[in-house]
């Protein structure tokens, strides 16, 4: 058996970095522990280069019996996750250095989680999907409880852990039933096996699909598995909340996309109604509860739940027609990428504010337009983009999903209309922060100085969203090439 080392090079580099980060931490003097971040950052950049070097080399079936595959889908998501890793590392630097945290351990855990993210889009069987999901979650439980002396942090960590482990167990039970029914773990073989079932076995297969969906619905914080999200985000350090809200949920979607569009695609008649309900309830509940929030991180958590509802919408459009499936898939991928940029940006600004205003209420943003003009401009762009209003990238993301819904017809039109109504509702809370920043006066008029690394990240994210609005084709292309080879 020969091993295609180039295909697994990103994973190898990141794994080596993880070990190096852990070992170098032993030899750093207590005052210089923050140097771990630069080691981790260099490793992430090297991984990103390794991922990009796979572009244009064609699909690689891999060398592990097809369990690990590299194709356009893998490359797009791996590059996205490594960019997100770089951003999270940069916004963590000052926060963790000044917060009195264990830094080496944190960067070790963060990179381990990102290793799971890296494996997820390349996983093409149930076992690998389970392992990557666990690899993303397990260090996440610890990072969520990283504010060790804070009771809220403990509580957020415990809730995250309990609901996470429970849903993993339910998902595994579903996977074991699918294995028993089809005799396979590989997604393509599972898909073929499920098609041949009938009668009682088909009913059991549907129950198993339901179980597996539960595991991923937790990861992406879809209603009714969402309640951990706001509590955990509030209790965890802000950069960890950024990781959970962007990378961890995108990893869940990368797995769910493969399951629903490849492994379970022929059973769509059973699970499409489920996703219609899931999508509608998630976006509506997320938006309505977000309206009540005054804590910025909780607001972003509920906004993330609402956005999950939008990303679930294309799943509910799956039908027997491959061309509709393709545009639904493309819409979902594009939305995840753009959502990642705007949400990371919003969390980066929140990190910058948190050193001066640890309570993180919306009131703390008052007068920011005068105190920190760049941050205020960027935050306005992120909020406008999350609401889906031009001239930002978020507009095209929503438009693509809307188009896919209309193309599907029937229930798709209903969902598209529901999304537009929800977007209008969401303006109600997304614009609270820009309003406070521009029209309200702060008690504390002194300029707010943001760490240079955070400012740089914020500026890049803002520029990216504006550029995407002008040239949407750049990111549409990414969505187009990632077809996963379904439906021809």
């Amino acid at each position: 058996m020969t091993i295609d080392y180039h295909a697994i090079l990103p994973v190898l580099i990141l794994s080596a970095t993880i070990v190096i980060v852990l070992v170098t931490d032993l030899f750093l003097s207590p005052r210089r522990k923050s140097a771990s971040m630069w080691v981790a950052f260099a490793g992430v950049l090297a991984t990103l280069v390794a991922v990009l070097s796979l572009i244009g080399k064609g699909d690689r079936p891999g060398s592990f019996g097809g369990s690990y595959q590299v194709d356009a889908f893998t490359i797009v998501f791996q590059a996205f996750f490594m960019s997100a890793a770089a951003v999270v590392l940069l916004i963590s630097y000052r926060y963790f250095r000044e917060g009195g945290f264990y830094q080496g351990e944190y960067y070790f855990l963060l990179l381990t989680s990102f290793l799971g993210c890296l494996l997820m889009p390349a996983s093409r069987d149930l076992l690998m999907l389970f392992l990557s999901l666990e690899l993303v979650s397990a260090p996440g439980f610890l990072m969520a409880a990283f504010r060790k002396s804070d009771v809220k942090g403990n509580e957020g960590g415990l809730k995250f852990f309990l609901i996470g482990v429970l849903s993993t167990a339910v998902m595994l039970y579903g996977m074991s039933l699918i294995y028993g029914l089809t005799g396979h773990l590989q997604l393509a073989a599972v898909s073929a096996g499920l098609q041949q079932l009938s009668g009682a076995k088909e009913t059991l297969a549907n129950a198993a699909i339901l179980f597996v969906v539960v595991g991923f619905a937790f990861k992406i914080s879809a209603v009714p598995f969402q309640f951990w999200a706001p509590d955990t985000y509030e209790g965890s350090p802000v950069p960890v909340a950024a990781f959970l809200g962007v990378a961890s949920s995108a990893a869940g979607f990368a797995g769910l996309l493969q399951l629903m569009f490849v492994a379970f695609v022929h059973e769509y008649a059973f699970w499409v109604p489920l996703f219609v309900a899931l999508s509608l309830v998630t976006m509506t509940l997320g938006n309505l509860v977000a309206l009540q929030q005054r804590h910025v991180v909780r607001l972003l958590a509920y906004s993330g739940i609402a956005q999950t509802g939008y990303i679930l919408l294309p799943f509910a459009l799956v039908s027997a027609d491959p061309s509709i499936n393709h545009s639904a898939f493309q819409a979902a991928v594009t939305y995840i990428l753009i959502y990642g940029i705007m949400n990371l940006g919003a969390f980066a600004v929140t990190t910058a504010i948190s050193s001066r205003h640890p309570l993180l209420q919306i009131q703390d943003f008052a007068g920011l337009a005068k105190r920190a003009p760049l941050l205020a401009t960027a935050m306005t762009v992120f909020m406008v983009s999350l609401a889906g209003v031009p001239p930002t990238g978020g507009f095209w993301a929503k438009l693509l999903i809307f188009q896919a819904g209309i193309q599907r017809g029937g229930v798709g039109v209903l969902l598209a209309v529901a999304m537009v109504i929800n977007s209008v509702i969401s303006v109600g809370y997304y614009f609270l922060i820009p309003r406070a920043m521009i029209f309200e006066d702060a008690e504390d008029q002194t300029p707010l100085r943001s760490p240079i690394l955070v400012t740089a990240v914020v500026a890049v994210a803002m520029a990216a969203l504006l550029v995407i609005f002008v040239v949407p084709n750049a990111i549409y292309r990414l969505g187009e090439v990632t077809s996963l080879g379904f439906g021809g």
């Binding site: 439980f141 415990l158 482990v165 595994l172 996977m175 074991s176 294995y179």
Partner: protein, 100 residues
């Protein structure tokens, strides 16, 4: 040779008992043990199917589940100890600071 349906019924019972334990127990350590029951129900399923199908994949899967379960309980106990240090209680019902 034990028949497959009997084994599946046994694992379904284990799984239900685990779910009941997670929902009804107040002590965080007991909740962790109930989660172990859930994962063991999965293992019974996997091994029964592997034996029935004469296929080694299911057994490998079960080995991975065992390893991951051990890691998860380690993390869970760490969080529970943290909670106990700060609150001197591991009753999951009292962990209700954050709502809505």
């Amino acid at each position: 040779m034990i028949r497959l349906p009997l084994v599946l019924l046994f694992s379904a019972f284990l799984f239900s008992a685990g779910i009941y334990g997670v929902l009804a127990r107040r002590n965080a350590v007991m909740v962790l043990m109930a989660i172990e029951l859930l994962l063991n129900a999965v293992n019974v399923n996997l091994i029964a199917f592997a034996a029935e199908l004469q296929d080694v994949t299911g057994e490998v899967f079960a080995l991975f589940v065992i390893a991951v379960a051990a890691a998860e309980v380690g993390i869970g106990l760490a969080i529970v100890i943290l909670l106990f240090r700060n609150r001197a209680s591991i009753n999951v019902d009292e962990v209700d600071l954050l709502k809505w």
